[in-house]
Symmetry: C2
Subunit: 213 residues, 2 copies
DNA sequence: TCTATCCGGAACTGCAGAGTTCCGTATATG
DNA sequence: CATATACGGAACTCTGCAGTTCCGGATAGA
């Protein structure tokens, strides 16, 4: 989309002769951009940093993206694919079981990395709607979508009432984790996540913390 | 503290003759800094912008603060005093009544302004611990403190159980409001706040949404 | 092997903002 | 009224980064 090479027919622009553009380099640069973004934020990020981390030259970056803004937009969008949501979604038979099963190191690390990216973009979101949408779609939505799925299944099997505001409840953990991590700057560990599940989410859907006691 | 003029004995450094430094100007500059911070974020903020908005010269700003960083630190800290927490805290007799009574235009506007400041600082928080602490103390804590007070009163009058995790519950609304406003970029209106109170907070402390039905 | 193309890297321009210096003016004190 | 000081504003330096250009070397196809 924003990338320079995805021209009209996406073909025929490949050279008949000589060296071809390395497609793997694109991903290396995007990954490096996300790393730098997470570490320094949008304004702290320089193209030189990204190029150096990707083992590329600055010119190579600009051969593929027209500007820093477009690179960042693509890098954020690429987080979507990097997402761990392609992993199997737990189905333990109880809502609490499913929610607890979601607490795993790779899931937590992925979340923390994405939160850092979001923090690095925070000041831009109000002035760059397309970036805000990309960030929302790549960072916020995937996790909320999983939560909605788990909640819907709980409704279907009669575990919780159909009156529950699933949209609202699905945002409890993303909200509280983001606040805990970004603003309060405390580590997102298993204990905190369990506390949120048992102390907020389950009561909100009308369940007791301990499922069978 | 960070201000240049608060020297050793805080006295005798006033000139015997001639014009005195205008103390009101300090506050005008700090207010302007907060405004610009909320609108453009830390990196987008320039000293010229702040000076212009305060009706001052850039030199005047640097006569009072040694750097942009120190100005911002003081500006954030000054949000604490600007806070609306000097207003009367509601006491309606029920937790729900108190929470709903907190929903008032000045309270909401104050919160949104502070959230914008927090968004503008977000990318710096991980690399500037003192700024992070100042922001937390000026923006996060005052509101959480009120919530804790309301919850403690509810415990004292026997409305809710003493087992409730007050620390956790007091952070539900700040977290969800911040997420709603900053990340999802939706307006923080009365309807949303009521939904959070009735759909999350009250269930979390073991109360039904409609108190007397 | 030849050649068109891409590569990394370095040197370059242009600009914007932090921080400084200076000046003419305003003002409170004596 | 005289004077010492703070003021707003403009001009200045310096630094860092976005984006560009150029080059010698690497590489894949013909």
């Amino acid at each position: 989309m924003t990338q320079l090479d995805s021209d009209q027919k996406a073909a025929d622009d490949a050279p008949k002769l000589g060296r071809r553009r390395d497609p793997a380099k694109d991903q290396q640069i995007l990954d490096a951009a996300v790393d730098v973004l997470a570490e320094t934020g949008f304004d702290g990020m320089t193209i030189d940093m990204v190029a150096a981390r990707a083992g590329a030259g600055k010119a190579t970056v600009y051969r593929r993206w027209a500007s820093k803004n477009e690179l960042v937009l693509d890098a954020v969008a690429c987080l979507k694919k990097t997402d761990l949501d392609s992993m199997p979604i737990p189905d333990t038979g109880t809502l609490r079981g499913d929610l607890v099963a979601m607490i795993r190191p790779p899931t937590i690390d992925d979340a923390e990395r994405k939160l850092k990216v979001m923090a690095g973009l925070a000041s831009m979101l109000s002035s760059a709607p397309d970036l805000a949408e990309a960030a929302n779609e790549a960072i916020v939505e995937p996790r909320a979508r999983i939560n909605r799925m788990l909640l819907n299944r709980a409704v279907e099997r009669g575990e919780i009432s159909a009156d529950v505001d699933i949209q609202l409840v699905s945002l409890i953990s993303p909200s509280m984790v983001a606040y805990h991590s970004l603003i309060q700057r405390k580590p997102v560990d298993r204990e905190f996540l369990i506390t949120v599940i048992d102390g907020v989410i389950l009561p909100a859907v009308g369940l007791r913390p301990a499922p069978a006691r």
